[in-house]
């Protein structure tokens, strides 16, 4: 079996070796790497670099915590296609703790978690799903008699990196909706000072999780993030600016009633309350379920599920946004929010490949 980058035999316990053992060919492996490059918006010429990284690395240990959640992000994990969930959970990652999919329960399960925290200190990835309630001493979410806030502090402060999967873990999400009875917050607020990548959306699109992990394995750094902690490759652009129905918005062709002629012809859903003009996410580009569809594609407006406090700020879902001006892509971004506008600018620059490779530079310098 050849080695594309000529750096010698694949590392023992590497992802590549693991894929080989499962009967995947070299061709399958490179195809996986090129898909990763595409998801990360990197040029195809970088595929060998990704391949090289995956050939060397041991499977990273990952623990997945669930707090005030509906398991929607776990379900999303099960829909992973690039690579498939089987490959992701068995070959790419060493998922030592995940309440929903692990075979063990109770004390045995908790032992798996704390073995990782103890023995792999600073070397594991923590994924958090669901918000953390901090009101009244954290009594509103306890697992095995321990409060969520207690667990998240211990597990995430000892992790190499923490990924907040979904809007609840990132910003509090649904449990934090007014009046936020349990004092629900996101991971970054619960454990200040640690490195957190936010992958909001309800649920997160699993392809963005995979791409983030592969980026980390390939470059040893996190992908560039915006000021809300979101990777630019996935959240650097508004839904509205990548929308397949944008031409109808610009032409003033709007759906006015569910099932009307415009609805059947795929016109713009702005009048039906679409929040695409205020939402940063790559749904129009990568879509869902192996690219089959996405909300606007199906005929329903975006509800803004990847934005902080969307339950409060994006409702009523069916009332149109005020004042979204006509033509142009970046022209209206400042009206969406000054902070976000600056980030959108940074996104374009940050995607220059040399800068991504250098990884450590701050976005400010790139601007």
């Amino acid at each position: 079996m050849g080695n594309a980058s000529g750096t010698g035999a694949p590392g023992r316990g590497s992802i590549y070796e693991s894929l080989l053992k499962r009967g995947l060919s070299r061709r399958d492996f490179l195809s996986f790497c090129s898909v990763m490059a595409a998801t990360l918006a990197l040029p195809a010429s970088l595929t060998p670099r990704i391949a090289e990284a995956l050939e060397k690395k041991e499977k990273p240990v990952l623990v997945w915590l669930e707090f005030q959640d509906c398991a929607g992000n776990t379900e999303s994990l099960l829909r992973a296609t690039k690579p498939t969930v089987g490959s992701l959970v068995l070959d790419v990652l060493d998922v030592e703790y995940h309440e929903t999919i692990m075979a063990a329960a109770g004390h045995q399960a908790e032992k798996s978690l704390y073995d990782v925290v103890k023995n792999k200190k600073g070397k594991y990835i923590a994924v958090v799903e669901g918000s953390i309630p901090v009101k009244d001493g954290g009594v509103y979410c306890c697992i095995g008699g321990r409060s969520a806030i207690d667990i998240v502090k211990e597990v995430c402060s000892n992790a190499m990196v923490t990924i907040a999967a979904g809007t609840c873990a990132a910003y509090g999400g649904l449990p934090a909706a007014a009046p936020n009875p349990t004092g629900a917050i996101g991971v970054k607020d619960a454990v200040p000072g640690i490195t957190v990548v936010n992958l909001p959306a309800c649920p997160m699109n699993v392809e963005n999780l995979t791409a983030t992990v592969v980026h980390f394995l390939t470059f040893g750094t996190l992908p560039p993030l915006d000021n809300l902690g979101r990777p630019l490759f996935a959240y650097g652009k508004r839904i509205h600016d990548n929308c397949e129905r944008r031409a109808h918005f610009d032409a003033g062709q709007f759906v006015r009633q569910w099932g009307d002629e415009g609805h059947r012809q795929g016109w713009c859903l702005y009048e039906m309350g679409c929040k695409g003009p205020e939402t940063f996410q790559n749904c129009p580009r990568i879509r869902w379920n192996e690219g089959v569809n996405w909300p606007v594609g199906a005929g329903h407006g975006c509800v803004g599920c990847a934005e902080p406090a969307f339950w409060d700020k994006m409702t009523p879902f069916y009332k149109r946004l005020p004042k979204v001006p006509g033509f142009g892509v970046e022209k209206t971004a400042d009206k969406v929010g000054a902070g976000l506008a600056a980030v959108t600018g940074a996104a374009i620059v940050a995607h220059g490949i040399g800068r991504v490779l250098s990884g450590g530079r701050k976005e400010k310098e790139e601007e």
């Binding site: 829909r79 929903t100 869902w288």
Partner: protein, 498 residues
């Protein structure tokens, strides 16, 4: 959504009814298969024992129970080799620290290897067949095309931006793939595994009362009783009579729940008058035990005419069976005959797990039927997907109230709404896992999980895989009841030791 449609007296178009049936139908099929292989099978299947399997004999076993194409010696050898490499790597991820080698595992190595192979196949299959949700619901998880009054997915055979012949063909292909896997993999595996665990027909019965709201509407009336899986109640395991369901007889207690009612916690309330004032009185974390004589759960205790009820696939299948549903009766008889047992075994952990498979098969068979209904409407030129009459809140009465019944995969789901001045005045949801995971009520009656665990033999209290079998057989809602499951586990171990 159904509760609001009921409150505002909205009749949905026929196409919306059919699309909802298709979405719910494939959800049952996909969810039940995931439950069986990925959330329940490892309570019965020892993956480490699979390493001792002979691939040739595994192939013989597989071919003796099904004509599924992946059944050669070479295929099972490749699965075994992959499993071996995986286990030897020392990084076994989600299979770490489990109960491998426990005496309660009864399958021969070949059956274990076959199940592991299908665990992996089901992982790929489930993410493919659920693309029906992407087509009709925009995305999965968390579909986004449901509207009060219908669906937001347009139909037009002459548009590329609407459901058209292409979409029907795409869904049809996935529906076939779904049915084939259920017929050739899930059901044969279920029967093969069950045949080694017939003793589990004696455990896990629970409360013996079963409630099904029924599902798969056959006309568009709000909360119609014209359902493919019928509505009804079975009391005290008596299959000779199916009782009607009246939503007014549903109430919730908070006697042992961390809530308080304005006129006392020992009096139950109907959901329209439901109150959700939370008041935690449990121990300060970290704690080891909850005192079940006091309040000990975040779940309220729903009761029907003051009785605890089990909900879920077993309840639906028992109500269908007892109501004379022909296809359900045929499949139940087939399963009982194959296992060489009588209908009494249905009231058990094993029966609950079998009922889920029976329901999956009967539901998967209906997907093409509903798809044909949709195609027939399209052919007639009926493209309606939404009733707009009440879309604008200014058309609503000043006050209204309604309720909506649904059957989630894991059981009966009811929503109750009161609307005032165009806004929600009260909204109460009684979900399947509050029925099944219910704490005790004012009379001290246990809910189904608690009742089902009484008498469950536990070989080793430190490795209570038997507890998992019964609790998992209910398909507990991981998100809201896992902590309760932990509490129940502790409680039962204590009872057992005492």
């Amino acid at each position: 959504m159904r509760a609001v449609e009921n409150a505002l007296n909205i009749t949905i178009p026929d196409n919306a009814r059919i699309i909802r049936n298709l979405i719910t139908g494939i959800q049952y099929v996909q969810d039940h298969v995931i439950h069986f292989y990925h959330l329940h099978a490892l309570d019965w299947v020892d993956i480490v024992s699979a390493l001792k399997a002979d691939p040739a004999r595994t192939s013989q076993l597989a071919q003796s129970i099904s004509d599924w194409h992946n059944s050669s010696t070479a295929y099972f050898k490749s699965v075994k080799d992959r499993l071996k490499a995986f286990v030897e790597s020392g990084q076994i991820g989600p299979f770490s620290n489990a109960y491998w080698g426990h005496k309660a595992y009864k399958l021969p190595p070949e059956a274990n290897l076959m199940a592991v192979a299908h665990y992996l196949e089901a992982l790929d299959w489930q993410r493919d067949v659920i693309k029906i949700h992407a087509t009709l619901g925009a995305k999965n998880p968390h579909l986004q095309t449901y509207l009060v009054g219908g669906m937001a997915v347009p139909i037009d055979p002459n548009s590329q931006n609407a459901l058209n012949a292409d979409s029907i063909a795409f869904i049809s292909g996935l529906a076939k793939k779904a049915l084939e896997f259920v017929q050739k993999v899930y059901i044969p595996d279920l029967l093969a595994v069950a045949s080694f665990y017939k003793d589990w027909a004696a455990y896990g019965a629970g409360v013996g009362n079963y409630l099904a709201y029924g599902v798969f509407e056959q006309d568009t009336r709000s909360n119609t009783e014209n359902l493919y899986f019928p509505r009804g109640i079975i009391l005290n395991k008596d299959l000779s009579k199916v009782h009607p369901v009246d939503h007014k007889k549903i109430t919730e207690y908070v006697t042992h729940s961390w809530y308080e009612y304005p006129d006392g916690d020992d009096k139950a309330r109907h959901p329209w008058d439901g109150v959700t004032n939370y008041k935690y009185t449990g121990p300060k974390p970290p704690y080891k035990f909850l005192d079940t004589d006091k309040k000990y759960s975040w779940l309220k205790a729903p009761r029907y005419e003051d009785r605890p009820m089990e909900v879920g696939p077993l309840a639906r299948m028992l109500v269908a069976y007892a109501s004379g549903h022909k296809r359900v009766q045929e499949v139940v008889q087939y399963v009982l005959k194959k296992l060489n047992v009588g209908p009494a075994v249905l009231f058990s952990t094993l029966g609950r797990t079998a009922a889920r498979g029976i329901e999956t098969l009967v539901t998967a068979e209906m997907l093409p039927v509903w798809l044909d209904e949709l195609a027939a409407n399209m052919k007639k030129g009926d493209y309606r997907i939404h009733n707009n009459e009440r879309w604008d809140p200014s058309t609503w009465p000043r006050e209204a109230q309604g309720y909506g019944f649904h059957e989630a995969p894991r059981g009966a789901l009811g929503h109750w709404v009161k609307i005032k001045d165009g806004k929600i005045d009260n909204y109460q949801i009684v979900v399947p896992s509050t029925w099944n995971g219910s704490p005790r009520d004012a009379k001290g009656q246990r809910g189904p999980y608690e009742a089902a665990l009484i008498g469950t033999p536990v070989e080793d209290p430190e490795q209570p895989v038997e507890i998992l079998r019964t609790v998992h057989s209910f398909d507990p809602c991981m998100a809201c009841a896992v902590h309760v499951v932990d509490a129940d586990g502790n409680e039962v171990t204590r009872i057992k030791i005492v």
